[in-house]
Subunit: 341 residues, 2 copies
């Protein structure tokens, strides 16, 4: 009987944020790939594209004209998944046919007027302006009585369903707390009630001691590959102190966040020498008017690529029906990311 | 204030199998799509491909030669995610770094020696043979003392990460019960303990009364779009009586399953006139030696396509960070599928 080695033997790891296990198969990383490959485009984009509905001064599908903005520009999504309307709901839904109307607001945040940029190309101060806007939007939307959660995210790259390369993110603000946010909250809360400390504060301390999964660190934030990461190059950006949400950020913390976002996305672009696709988003306390001492601000980065710019990880079959699964270990991914410029 | 209408207003629906809500945005179905499109290939495949490692008589990467099989052929996956080896594990893992070795067996099931076929092209009796083999494999693997769950699934189509068009599925059999199977089991159990009946038996009865989400029905099975379906054309095949697992199938039930699988996948192929991609898999009782009166055999079909053979639904951003989301309603999808040949 050989003794267990996490670099070579299949194992499961526990994710305390979601109270879930994932399957890690390090021995499988080198299997041959004959499946689908992704298109990569290296065409140079213009700073202003007359056909882009996000560029300054252009007219959108619904006939509205974007202002001649410089920097960040926020507007209500023309094809939102939510509606502001308050509707009459009788509520008689039976056992297996349970549904509830959902109210909300979808917004688009253009990060810059420059069509050709992405986060890593932007000046730190300009990324800081994006963080300022996140803060303001969280406050403004969160203050509406029917908005109990404000979800910020960015889909980047065609492979992530992003249809427009203009640098932008989204806000989906709504009455309910979405499933995964609620699940995270339950686990943060359980830990906080048991230990009187933040799960993520304690976790980041341990990671900073261990160092093997830390990619970047500054005064206020750490970027790391979580021990329980699912996507090959998944990372998490966590504040070192427990910050419940964007409202509690100091000016300096906003700058630190901008800095670490620039550095992390720059590393990503160097990994396979392409503008690196991902979905990223913020988890923070909901705006439901309750007190949330358990919450701890963090950002998740979920990039789909596995071996190269062309080969992504397919989360299919087993992953859809049974359990998340990864090949390369989080420690190997962290090592690779850490050593990139 | 207008009154709520599930065909036009955003709402959330409850999935009792996973105890989770999903977001439905019917008003969003017609937004323009400028994003990534999928390649479709309509090339006619040969019945035998000398370069296919799944075809009869061909040599695989590891040097083994496939027998000259006819019908179904099962072998151990050459690049499995699991290993049979029993390893020594000291077990000292701390708080945030919790892991456990995982043992298991990965197998590939070729559905036919004919490289050019897919399930809907096969004779019902030949699909029945696949069901027979599932039954035998469930028994054989489930009887191993270190195998507590046997997961069957099929990834079909390039877009689902399938690298070989030869008709085949997979088995991942392992010591642990995977996350989603366990979660389903917990909810089936809660219902069974409360009501003394199977959640899915009661649910299917209600669906057969309502009829609006039923696509196909025969003596023993129903195929429907679940009220809480996430993927645009997601379906579930459920046995009408509570069958815990494949071992309890009668000969006639195996034939009924083969029949409904043929008819469902035939409808799928007619939807966008392409060989329809999906991940499908079986949920049934684990082989952990416990008694499982709560379990009820069912199959999930998760197809990625949304509007056409080229445009899939991207489960990204909001879906990865917050909650599953769909545009077209389950009732609309069911109506479309029902009316296909
Ligand atoms: O084993 P395959 O078919 O090569 O691999 C495919 O299915 C597996 C199980 O769903 C996934 O883990 C892989 O990401 C996918 O590419
Ligand atoms: O609104 P977008 O960017 O057009 O749409 C994209 O992101 C959304 C939120 O993650 C998803 O629901 C869509 O499937 C995806 O195509």
């Amino acid at each position: 009987k050989s003794s267990f080695n996490q670099k070579n033997h299949p194992h499961r790891r526990y994710n305390p944020l979601l109270d879930e296990w994932i399957l890690v198969s390090p021995q499988r990383a080198n299997r041959p790939w004959q499946g689908q490959t992704e298109k990569t485009s290296e065409e140079q984009l213009p700073a202003h594209d007359p056909n882009c509905y996000l560029c300054s001064g252009n007219v959108r599908v619904n006939g509205e004209k974007n202002p001649d903005y410089k920097g960040v520009f926020v507007f209500d999504n023309d094809f939102g998944s939510l509606m502001k309307d308050d509707v009459e709901f009788s509520g008689e839904t039976s056992d297996f046919f349970l549904l509830k109307p959902e109210r909300g607001i979808n917004r688009v945040i253009c990060f810059s007027e420059n069509h050709s940029l992405t986060l890593p190309d932007m000046e730190v101060n300009d990324i800081k302006t994006v963080v300022d806007v996140w803060q303001k939007q969280y406050e403004e939307l969160g203050n509406l009585d029917y908005i109990n959660n404000v979800q910020f995210f960015e889909n980047k790259g065609q492979v992530m369903g992003c249809s427009n390369p203009h640098p932008h993110g989204q806000i989906w603000a709504q009455s309910s707390i979405p499933s995964m946010v609620l699940k995270t909250q339950e686990n943060l809360k359980k830990y906080f009630e048991k230990n009187g400390t933040s799960l993520l504060e304690d976790y980041v301390k341990k990671e900073l001691e261990a160092r093997e999964r830390i990619i970047l660190e500054n005064e206020d934030f750490a970027a790391l590959v979580p021990f329980w990461a699912v996507w090959p190059y998944e990372t998490m950006v966590v504040s070192k102190r427990k910050i419940e949400n964007l409202l509690h950020f100091s000016e300096n913390e906003k700058l630190s966040l901008a800095l670490i976002l620039k550095d992390l996305t720059t590393k990503y672009d160097h990994l396979f020498n392409v503008s690196f696709p991902y979905s990223a988003g913020i988890h923070q306390s909901p705006t439901d008017g309750e007190s949330h001492p358990e919450w701890h601000f963090h950002m998740h980065f979920y990039p789909p690529l596995l071996r190269s710019a062309e080969v992504k990880k397919f989360m299919v079959g087993y992953e859809m029906l049974a359990e998340a699964q990864r090949d390369i270990t989080p420690e190997q991914s962290a090592e690779i990311l850490k050593n990139l410029p």
